[in-house]
């Protein structure tokens, strides 16, 4: 049976291949997110490398009780992006610390990343959702990404429809504020 993300992160201290599986599982989403934001495949690959290097460093301290691993990963991705935008260059600190060489992209890889951008638009929303309280993120994900009705979401979450609407509304408000402040 496939191990969960959380199990993979917990295992990667003693089983380094586990991080490889975690990487493969989320590579497209992270690359797609950075590709969509930057529109530059090489830059997207660079930001992706820094994100996963930071994730590898922090894997041991990942606390599953605080949220899903994917959300955690996108939290790192967003921090790498905003940190890099502030500095005017892609952060390299995590890669330096674990001794990762500079990534050399083959032309075919550049094309693959370009094609990803169109496919992984949802990844952008996921990345921003990672910043929201879990109850707001859950409501927004169900409504915006999964395109489900308020009544259906309310049934699943066992709350009233009005509560779902409020959570979606608040979540969207937070996203708007963040996007207006930090989108490079």
């Amino acid at each position: 049976m496939d191990r969960s993300d959380e199990e993979l992160l917990a295992a990667c201290g003693r089983d380094r291949a586990a991080f490889g599986v975690f990487y493969e599982r989320h590579e497209r989403a992270v690359l797609g997110f950075f590709g969509a934001v930057t529109r530059r495949p090489e830059l997207a690959a660079d930001l992706t490398a820094e994100t996963f290097a930071a994730a590898l460093e922090g894997a041991a301290s990942f606390d599953a009780s605080r949220g899903m691993a994917r959300m955690w990963l996108f939290g790192i991705a967003r921090n790498v992006l905003s940190g890099s935008a502030r500095r005017g260059r892609v952060e390299t600190a995590a890669r330096r610390r674990i001794g990762l060489e500079t990534l050399v992209l083959a032309p075919s890889q550049v094309e693959l990343i370009e094609s990803l951008v169109a496919e992984e638009g949802d990844a952008i929303v996921e990345a921003w959702l990672a910043e929201l309280p879990e109850h707001e993120a859950g409501a927004l994900r169900a409504r915006v990404l999964d395109e489900r009705g308020y009544a259906e979401i309310a049934r699943d979450l066992r709350v009233s429809e009005a509560v779902v609407r409020k959570r979606v509304s608040r979540g969207l408000g937070r996203l708007r504020r963040r996007l207006s402040q930090e989108t490079p």
Partner: protein
């Protein structure tokens, strides 16, 4: 399908540092004197704590920056007040076993350089902790090679804290660039912009961003600037080549004894080379350094690993020289592959005749005739410099 298998493979091969409690925080957790340097100064008494040593220091005298050649370093006479009061800041020069000179900035009590127990250092115990002259490991270090005359030039500009300068990872609180969610944020009021460096014996005056000036120390031309202003910029820089100032640096102008001056670099204009700096010599050996190279290649996903072994034709005794493994694919259809696609320097001392092993990676899309060369070069030389040790070609199949 994995799009960047080389990244996945590198991550799997990487050895992440074990997360551990910062040593500083664990030294004197029972101090209970969570007061700032300013408050300490007001009492007129600075309680001493145990010496602190960064956890990430170079331990191998023959590798990387090396280790200090003596256990005291050289504390310069330069003293600069902290905007919040308390013990002044000072600067220490540390010579290393690999011929580098490193700079350390911190608070000074008596004749000792150290850190105050605040801003996540030593459990915020409020004591003064002397700092031994350890050399930090890593790629970005405040260390420099000498010029051709054996003089040192360096420029460092960074965000730090009133505690004294420490590696952000050593603090128990979070600097703006530190993403550790388990740490609380470091106090904003204690942020400091610090700039320090060595300008050589020709420098006579340094002008800083706030308009203040300083006379550099005799001989070394050392300067030190500490301010609570300009801390919104978290970017830090270390002059990996000798420059008089870095873009956006707190150093705005350097005057020299002969009446000339240098305006520090901006984003658009490069920095001046410091007056008195002489470029180290390139490798000019008349004798042949040619050696037989043994090469193994192995395919791994979408990349090819190149492993090269050879006997060192000359010894390497300091950080000033290195062997470099270079790879390029001159007849590749992709022009990016025609430049250097693989660059691996040796980073340690070697005896003549030692077996040198260098390992690099080439993406398979750079297919064609891979030209592998090993050169012996001065570390300050560009990628295309150095004297050839060996060269061969291998086919990279699509």
């Amino acid at each position: 399908m994995t799009i960047l298998p080389q990244l996945r493979d590198a991550l799997v091969r990487a050895r992440p540092r074990r997360r551990r409690r910062p040593l500083f925080a664990g030294l004197l957790a029972a101090g209970g004197l969570a007061v700032t340097g300013a408050a300490l100064a007001a009492t007129g008494v600075i309680p001493f704590g145990d010496p602190v040593e960064p956890t990430r220091v170079e331990r191998d005298p023959q590798r990387g920056v090396g280790v200090p050649t003596d256990q005291s370093g050289r504390l310069l006479a330069l003293r600069v007040p902290d905007p919040g009061g308390g013990p002044p800041w000072g600067l220490r020069i540390v010579d290393t076993t690999r011929g580098l000179q490193c700079l350390q900035a911190g608070r000074v009590v008596g004749e000792q350089l150290g850190l105050l127990g605040q801003d996540g250092i030593a459990g915020d115990d409020g004591r003064f902790h002397p700092m031994p002259p350890a050399t930090r490991s890593g790629w970005v270090t405040p260390c420099q090679l000498p010029d051709a005359n054996g003089r040192f030039f360096i420029a460092v500009d960074k965000l730090s804290y009133a505690s004294g300068d420490a590696d952000p990872r050593e603090r128990a609180c979070r600097e703006p660039t530190d993403r550790d969610p388990d740490k609380p944020r470091c106090p904003r009021a204690d942020r400091r912009r610090i700039a320090f460096g060595l300008l050589g014996p020709e420098a006579s005056k340094v002008t800083f961003a706030d308009g203040s000036t300083q006379v550099p120390t005799d001989g070394d031309g050392a300067y030190l600037y500490v301010s609570a202003e300009g801390t919104e910029r978290t970017e830090s820089g270390s002059g990996d080549r000798p420059v008089s100032g870095l873009p956006g640096s707190a150093v705005k102008r350097i005057d020299y004894r002969d009446g000339t001056h240098c305006t520090a670099a901006t984003q658009r204009t490069p920095s001046c080379t410091p007056k008195g700096y002489v470029e180290p010599e390139r490798v000019h050996s008349s004798k042949s350094l040619r050696r037989k190279l043994t090469v193994k290649t192995s395919r791994d996903g979408q990349v090819t690993w190149i492993k090269v072994r050879f006997r060192a034709p000359v010894a390497i005794t300091d950080a000033g020289h290195e062997y470099r493994l270079l790879g390029r694919v001159p007849d590749s259809a992709d022009k990016r592959c025609r430049a250097v696609v693989m660059y691996v320097p040796s980073n340690r001392n070697l005896q003549r005749g030692d077996t040198v092993k260098l390992e690099g990676i080439v993406p398979n899309d750079c297919n064609g005739r891979l030209q592998v060369s090993v050169v012996f070069a001065a570390t300050t030389e560009r990628n295309d410099g150095g004297k050839l040790v060996g060269r061969l070609t291998r086919s990279i199949a699509p």
